[in-house]
């Protein structure tokens, strides 16, 4: 009996001492741990949004944040989980108000992909591929034609999971972008806006022809050396007011260093103020004759379409 009492009291006293010392350490470290976790999230938010002047408001803890500048929502940051090769992949993604990705980050914490293979999704070159893409570009090149993402050699499953996590998250959370700010995100969306002088446009033909008073805007493709080259043209009374030629970043696929020179601002400027009928007399970019012709052809053919429509 005496032994039993001794046993119980020893274990009891040791447990009490242990509990008290633990609660002391817990009280001391708790604020520091919470502070650290908060700071880490804030840093990640600023990093993927690429802008430290915005305020983040938590919509769903650890999952969704809205970014505000003043009273306007200028984008969102979200996390979305998807099963990878081993364990889950949970990227942090920054999205601007048009639904375009600013930057993504795969935090290494809790990531259990194979070291040296799947883990490569955390490498800078892989993450950078997503910047500037809209939904239809966030596919592996081998999975969909519109995809812009190169998979990691020998780590297709991880690459695909990472890509799907970003895309599915975007599909789910983009509704949080304030309604009127969501525009259809295409390579020429910004250019149409810029060339029109941000006036309200009337869409005459879907995604090809726009009108605002005297001014007409059209998009047309010409067959280049490698594949088609897109051109956005703004005209008033048969005179070219502004032009934008698709750049390699926007998906133009002409020969790098030769055909791609047609996207230089110097070449675009040559067209400004020129009558549509006179563009044949403009100089080609040397070394890119076929690509230059593609641009001219796109301008002329597109104009023919425009005339047909405007006569109706």
């Amino acid at each position: 009996m005496k032994n039993k009492v001794k046993s119980v009291s020893v274990l009891f006293i040791i447990s009490v001492v242990s509990a008290f010392s633990l609660s002391f350490v817990y009280e001391k470290t708790k604020p520091i741990i919470e502070e650290g976790a908060k700071k880490q999230i804030e840093e990640a938010l600023v990093e993927v949004f690429g802008d430290s002047t915005v305020q983040f408001e938590t919509v769903k803890s650890d999952t969704l944040w809205k970014a505000y500048r003043g009273d306007t929502c200028v984008g969102i940051v979200y996390r979305y989980a998807k099963k990878g090769y081993s364990g889950t992949i949970r990227p942090i993604v920054g999205v601007d108000s048009t639904g375009r990705i600013i930057k993504v980050k795969f935090p290494k914490e809790g990531l259990t992909e194979t070291p040296g293979l799947g883990m490569k999704i955390t490498e800078e070159w892989f993450q950078e591929q997503f910047s500037g893409l809209c939904e239809d570009g966030i596919w592996l090149k081998k999975d969909k034609d519109s995809g812009k993402i190169d998979a990691i050699t020998a780590a297709t499953i991880s690459s695909r999971a990472a890509t799907s996590a970003i895309r599915e998250g975007l599909t789910k959370y983009k509704t949080y972008l304030s309604g009127d700010l969501i525009k259809e995100c295409k390579w020429y969306t910004d250019d149409i806006e810029r060339l029109s002088g941000e006036k309200d446009l009337e869409e005459v033909i879907d995604d090809r022809l726009w009108k605002s008073g005297e001014q007409w805007l059209y998009l047309f493709y010409g067959e280049g050396f490698v594949s088609s080259v897109g051109v956005v043209v703004s005209v008033i009374n048969d005179t070219i007011q502004g032009i934008h030629i698709q750049t390699p970043e926007e998906g133009m696929e002409e020969t790098p260093g030769c055909g791609t020179m047609i996207a230089d601002a110097a070449f675009e400027e040559k067209f400004i103020g020129v009558y549509i009928n006179e563009i044949d007399e403009l100089d080609h970019v040397s070394g890119a004759t076929v690509s230059s012709d593609a641009v001219k052809k796109a301008i002329k053919e597109g104009y023919k379409e425009l005339v047909k429509r405007s006569e109706k």
Partner: protein, 204 residues
């Protein structure tokens, strides 16, 4: 007393000779930095649990010793876990679940049961430091071997230091991936145990 310290490092090395605490030794040694961090955490827990167990050795009833050891060890492990989280978050994230798992590291329980419970506190202290340093060294060596062969870098500290390239930067791409995967841990541990036995028996 000196023996208690020195024996712990080599003659009673936790991994090479006693072959206890192999679980963390295999799991965290994917890099030298991780091995070092785990080792230091174990030194801390081992020293304190050894000293406490040995000071209380006359009070702890023999039939209740294991639960008491576990309470003492888990207290110190939790202290280490919180402190790492607060003051060294990157290391804490790297070591992940292995810090809480020190509780069931049989090395620590083994020293409490096998040594501290029968020796006075100052011996237990020396044993704790010795065994702890021996464990840290072996984890560091394992981490070094696996990191260099498996990733081609050495002493990479996430977010702080990019690491050395002992075989040149080109080796990073052609490194032996197997070494940082679980089989590499077994290979390394077997190799080191074999080497140790070879040099120990050579004199005879």
């Amino acid at each position: 007393m000196k023996h208690a310290f020195l024996d712990g490092i080599m003659k009673n090395n936790m991994v090479l000779v006693l072959a206890i605490g192999l679980c963390p030794a295999l799991a965290v040694t994917t890099s030298a930095y991780n091995g070092l961090g785990m080792g230091i955490a174990v030194i801390f827990v081992l020293v304190f649990s050894n000293v406490i167990v040995s000071s209380l050795r006359n009070i702890i009833p023999a039939n209740l010793r294991i639960p008491v050891f576990i309470v003492i060890i888990s207290t110190f492990v939790t202290i280490v876990d919180y402190s790492l989280k607060a003051y060294l978050p990157p290391l804490s994230r790297q070591l992940g679940v292995f810090v809480p798992l020190i509780v069931v590291n049989c090395g620590i329980l083994g020293r409490a049961e096998g040594y501290s419970y029968h020796h006075p506190p100052h011996y237990a202290l020396m044993d704790g430091i010795g065994i702890g340093i021996g464990f840290t060294l072996i984890l560091f060596v394992m981490g070094t071997i696996r990191e260099i062969l498996g990733q081609g870098i050495w002493m990479k500290i996430p977010g702080v230091f990019e690491g050395f390239h002992p075989f040149g930067e080109a080796f990073v791409d052609s490194s032996v991936l197997l070494m940082i995967l679980p089989p590499g841990g077994f290979l390394t541990i077997a190799l080191l145990m074999g080497l140790y036995k070879y040099f120990k028996n050579r004199g005879r």
